[in-house]
Symmetry: C2
């Protein structure tokens, strides 16, 4: 009986194995973090030998950064948030955050980034990048006073929201409709950005 098991070498057809591996990697890194994700696990889930993973992506860390390729270009979204001036910037920020995190395509890399931010390795990389790439430009475009303080306050609320809604999936936050969240958080964020500071 000629078994179907592919024994060795190249398989027939032209399956995009590289993309399959990358997809699995994104998933795992996002859901379990860097340390808890193993190259072998990714390989198995992708129906592939672990050596192939190394062949395509090099080291595990290389694969990680490859899986982080963001779907969101900061230079593209910052103007959208900033346009319109100080009024309503809180709402636009929240709305943008939710739309990005509610889209699976862009969520996975963000989750991986978020997770890695709290693991011992990458440390300051993520918050720093986030602050400089998004919140920094926004605050600059709006000409806020004490931008560092305001940006950090906003970040503290947004990080908490993301952590509970998307990472820990706490109810009723996880299932709350976007409009409710916007209505709830927009005033707070707006206050952090443009209100008086003690």
């Amino acid at each position: 009986m000629s078994t179907t098991a592919p024994r060795r070498g190249r398989r027939p057809g032209s399956p995009d194995t590289r993309a399959a591996i990358l997809a699995v990697a994104r998933q795992r890194f996002a859901q379990q973090g860097y340390a808890a994700t193993s190259v072998r696990g990714i390989a198995t889930a992708a129906g592939v030998d672990s050596a192939l993973v190394h062949h395509y992506f090099g080291t595990k860390e290389d694969l990680f950064v490859a899986s982080l390729e963001l779907r969101v270009d900061p230079r593209e979204i910052v103007p959208v948030v900033a346009a319109g001036g100080r009024d309503g910037v809180g709402e636009r920020l929240i709305r943008l955050l939710l739309s990005v995190w509610d889209d699976e395509e862009s969520r996975l890399p963000l989750m991986a980034l978020m997770r890695s931010a709290f693991e011992p390795e990458g440390k300051a990389l993520v918050p720093d990048a986030f602050g400089r790439l998004i919140l920094g430009p926004v605050s600059e475009a709006l000409e806020l006073d004490q931008p560092e303080r305001r940006v950090t306050l906003v970040a503290s609320q947004l990080v908490g929201l993301v952590a509970l809604r998307y990472i820990a999936r706490i109810e009723p936050l996880a299932s709350a409709p976007v409009e409710t969240l916007v209505a709830t958080y927009a005033p707070v964020v707006q206050g952090y950005l443009t209100g008086p500071l003690p």
Copy 2:
């Protein structure tokens, strides 16, 4: 020359090696999380063979829960926060949170808990416990409406604050004086607890 290296068996004197191991374990679990912390690493840092760790604490997971032994008794602090009624409960909550997290004694176990909450294993355990042990009783004592929603909102802000100030150590949040933080966050928390909900 009689070297000082202890070769085998029990060492002279009565050093509390068990406590030393536990201290190191608390530190490591808090700073690196469960997965990234190794029994051998703890043993080495405590100047001890790894077998001794197992001798005292059993499995690695046992050691972990042993290191979580909280310094804070919820039943003790909840009345303090709730006493005084709705007015000023936001400020009392923030003040309590900061005092607990600014004390190294109580911070380490909390950090370990927090970290484990975002690793794949413990999952819902921590937020659930936190909500039920602290925020739940508080909201009940205050007779709030829609307690789940309000409690989650508060948690989202507090988790973000803790994540940035104590875990990621983002400035200027990390070095901000307590009074400033109280003044900044108390109104928001108060609003989440007692203000109108959309």
